[in-house]
């Protein structure tokens, strides 16, 4: 079982950056029809989203979030020895966008940097990787950056997905700290049999010679090319409300933990209905389950950092809070974590349309 405990590591800060480009779902009345849009808003709870401008990549958002966090933490950049960028929207097929970010952030050459291709489970996996990388005592500070620009890769006709997704970048600063007395407990899972529930058929190696560039009619009545993201919302919904609560319960039981021990349940934010269902199924009180998907949409891997920065900033900055957190989605990949935040640094949410001009 990929279930374990990480010690001597603390999250020192979290920051988020959104595109300075707010989109209202009601703006889509004309494209998708009023009834459909209203129904989608009612079901998902999503009213507004922030979407990248054309030139802007997910890495630009993560870069801005990282710069602000380093500045606010007053970290000497030479002390950062590791950078992981978790994304499904890399700048290029090669190299790892993390290498470009190491350069843009002017981090030292003595820095391990690589990409990880994960989505909604990114925060859990990133905290896991980052903590592990510091277990050897040679790396004392790490940046885990997460970024995605969800909605831009769907077919413009794909109402089932466009109205749900926003873009966001985030940065998590991790530090080796032998004084920390709380461990990070985790459980990580994968079910690759569901890979077609959320995928992009073309654009990489598979199907390279047969992929259709022109949109064609899919079974669900939507025109997509093979280069567009595809999401089977029903499969994802079913997965999220069955396997995710099951894993959380299994995790709590394994470590003899109880809902009462946690200040908050911090879940990935695909839509309001799913978040509430997961909370309900593990019998976690809804008043301790923050939700902000109505403002930002599903921001993939950045949903969890964005929820912390938006909803529990003051407590995370000024006190010690224990979170039960879970990210789940594309892969299918999911994870659960028991995480304590104590006096961490959280800059206000940044809104920016800046992008890298040397790319």
């Amino acid at each position: 079982m990929a279930i374990g405990e990480l010690k001597n590591v603390a999250i020192k800060g979290i920051s988020c950056c959104l595109p300075d480009n707010k989109v209202l779902n009601t703006d889509y009345y004309e494209r998708f029809g009023r009834d459909l849009v209203d129904k989608a808003i009612k079901m998902t709870g999503i009213n507004t989203r922030y979407v990248t401008i054309k030139e802007q990549c997910a890495s630009d958002l993560a870069y801005t979030a990282a710069e602000r966090l380093i500045e606010k933490l007053n970290w000497d950049k030479d002390t950062i020895k590791g950078l992981i960028f978790i994304t499904q929207s890399p700048d290029y097929r090669k190299p790892s966008t993390a290498c470009i970010l190491q350069y843009r952030l002017r981090l030292s050459e003595y820095c391990a940097a690589f990409d990880v291709n994960l989505g909604c489970s990114a925060f859990i996996y990133g905290t896991f990787f980052g903590s592990l990388m510091m277990s050897n005592n040679d790396i004392n500070r790490m940046l885990v950056l997460i970024g995605d620009a969800g909605s831009r890769y769907f077919s413009p006709e794909d109402h089932s997905a466009i109205l749900l997704h926003g873009s966001a970048g985030s940065a998590i600063a991790l530090e080796y700290d032998p004084e920390v007395n709380s461990s990070i407990k985790y459980s990580l899972k994968t079910d690759g049999s569901g890979f077609k529930s959320l995928y992009t058929p073309a654009g990489a190696s598979r199907n390279a010679y047969t992929a259709k560039k022109e949109p064609y009619l899919h079974n669900d009545g939507i025109m997509r090319s093979d280069y567009h993201h595809f999401m089977n919302g029903l499969d994802i919904f079913q997965f999220s409300i069955t396997k995710v609560p099951k894993t959380i319960k299994e995790f709590l039981k394994h470590y003899k933990l109880d809902n009462d021990m946690f200040d908050y349940l911090v879940l990935h934010q695909p839509n309001k209905l799913m978040v509430e269902k997961v909370a309900k199924k593990i019998e976690f009180p809804l008043e301790k389950t923050p939700i902000n998907v109505e403002k930002f949409g599903n921001c993939n891997g950045s949903s969890i950092p964005l929820l912390i920065v938006d909803k529990i900033k003051t407590e995370a900055e000024n006190s010690r809070i224990r979170l039960l957190t879970s990210g789940f989605g594309v892969g299918l990949s999911w994870g659960v974590m028991d995480l304590t935040l104590k006096h961490i640094t959280i800059p206000d949410i940044i809104y920016s349309n800046e992008y890298y001009t040397e790319g």
Partner: protein
């Protein structure tokens, strides 16, 4: 009579979940409802889970032709 009450209750739960009105019986064709689409499936999945503790998948819903077929999912 108990059976009938359960059927009627199920019809009410179905109407509530899809936010539809009007009178119909358990033999109604699901295709008659515009609400019986992918978003409707999600509402129904959620309702079956909440009210009847039944976890069904999309394929089980898609093959249902009438409300009876759907009702049978919870009776199994």
């Amino acid at each position: 009579m108990e059976g009938k009450k359960t059927v009627n209750e199920f019809i009410e739960k179905f109407k509530e979940a899809l936010d539809i009105e009007g009178e119909f019986d358990i033999n109604v064709e699901l295709e008659e409802f515009a609400e019986w689409d992918s978003m409707g499936y999600i509402s129904i999945m959620s309702m079956l889970d909440d009210e009847y503790g039944k976890e069904v998948n999309a394929n089980q819903l898609k093959v249902c032709k009438t409300l009876v077929d759907l009702y049978e999912l919870i009776s199994k």
